[in-house]
Symmetry: C2
Amino acid sequence: MKRKSVTSRDVAKLAGVSQSAVSRTFSPNAKVSERTRKKVMDASRELGYRPNTIARSLITRSSRTIAVVTYSLQNPFYSSMLEQASRFFQQQGYHLLLFFAPSSGDFDAVLDDIIRSQVEGVLMLALTMNEQQAHLVADFGIPMVIINRTVNDSGISQVSSDNFQGGYWAGRYLTSLGHRRIAYLAGLPDSSTEKQRRSGFLEGLASMQASCHAVDVGNYRYEDACQATRRLFADSHPPDALFAANDLMAIAAMEILRHEYCMKIPEDVSIIGFDDVPMASWPSHSLTTLQQPVDTMVMRATELLLEQIAQPGTPPEHITLPVTPILRNSTRRQSDPRR
Amino acid sequence: MKRKSVTSRDVAKLAGVSQSAVSRTFSPNAKVSERTRKKVMDASRELGYRPNTIARSLITRSSRTIAVVTYSLQNPFYSSMLEQASRFFQQQGYHLLLFFAPSSGDFDAVLDDIIRSQVEGVLMLALTMNEQQAHLVADFGIPMVIINRTVNDSGISQVSSDNFQGGYWAGRYLTSLGHRRIAYLAGLPDSSTEKQRRSGFLEGLASMQASCHAVDVGNYRYEDACQATRRLFADSHPPDALFAANDLMAIAAMEILRHEYCMKIPEDVSIIGFDDVPMASWPSHSLTTLQQPVDTMVMRATELLLEQIAQPGTPPEHITLPVTPILRNSTRRQSDPRR
DNA sequence: ATGAAAGCGCTAACAC
DNA sequence: GTGTTAGCGCTTTCAT
């Protein structure tokens, strides 16, 4: 059954036309007579011919391929972004090359690989990188947009939500509920989202004459967040409120507090997350959180990328979308407002 | 900043060597003198040269690209498989082309697209397709392995776990706990996993002289499973046990039962899931389930694919891996064993 | 509208 | 070891 690479030449021979006629038949805006087209199609069907995308790419110098590089799919927030972006590009007739940033090791090698692969654009999904790395790709004239991370002052397009504002709100809100020992569960230390959410949070607290009671790091991951929570609450003066830099960690904290520390949420401790992943709205968690506009973020990012591909001169944009506090049942006013 | 396509020719000219010397320098098993290599590397660096993967693919007729096609990433079970498989292939020096099966519409068009893209292999991730579709790709001599789905009697490699056995165990176990009104929460009706888990379940029940009390469909999705659960338990004789065809639906059911029907789990109803996603072990859910050996499945599938790529003659394999019951706290012996 | 011819950027014989 | 040569399968002028 295995047909081995039928070429347009083979089809041409069988159809009794020139090879370029075959090419034209398979080109979107061809100028081929119905008669020729039919002959070609018949022959193609008979031989099981499929145009070779690689050869086409080589000559047209357009691969119609986009690289998406991401860090992990553990967090439903990322996998959902990936799925949405992928479906969008696929719908637009693009192929999608998927890369994972190696957990340990050579990210530059991946970037190099991407450049060699002749993609027309790169979507960086929640990827932390330095300016040099960011420029490496851009300097090759490959349009790139970073989503859910920012890189300082570079000429690179980025779409993210207002992490600072989200943190700020969390800080003020928890304070306003009367909490006095408010802790912070941090994400990946080097990531821009972490830095922004944290500084927003601290400033939010400060704006209410409050300060942060304790900090520990959960690296945006469930398991790490469990450990961090245990450390935070093993103290003789445990927190009475917690802001976690993402929902996954917030939920991890709830699990630990409820089932290992026999604490009630929100009675004993208020918790706020960040993202608003679907899970956050499940009754068991009912997590108060800061909703990121995923759909909009993906849409803006993908459109931006496509635009830059279509018009290479397009200046980079930095888009910051607002976050929305979603009030659920993981937070409540402190019963003993002793302050 | 934008350098526009520096070719090996440009490098050759600058380095004062032949174009093939440049090619050799960038080929893994080159035969180039150190002197030439250095000249080439220097020139390359100066011009920012990167070999064009597309041109290389065209002439070597190997794209070193694998297509992974999947249905959705909503379920963490799939996204985790995707991540593992991707990382593996990436590590092996392959590129990964990601395709999503359109929810409504032309799957054949996607298959066609895959064939045109000259991938060296295809990994079908939890994809339901008919035999004709399965053969379409295979007939082009493109190795393919299906993971977590089976296609009847085809000459196509597939790796899955023993869904029937899992269902069978669930049926017998729930019966052995003394439950008398055991319901089934079904997955995607046409999927092989659904059929196998269901028939295993029914036979398991039958082997204990029991039968299924009610069935509803959750399509393997959270939201749909919520609806189905509401329907199942709105009855005047609601189930006292539930087997859900995957964890996501099992958890959905728990959420609805606990928070909308004020039922206790496992006191009022026992629940069993399927997959053992990370979430299933979280204390809030503590779901009894059938663990699929994800790591092994992915490893076997990826190795199988690579093997078939390396040795085109390799006969297809059908690998079925055992599932493992994981006993947690969503099931318990019926307190009133009236039978 | 159609065919002939010239490459796209690279690898792989093949001589030297 | 190095250069020369001939393509990989296709698109795209350019004549006709």
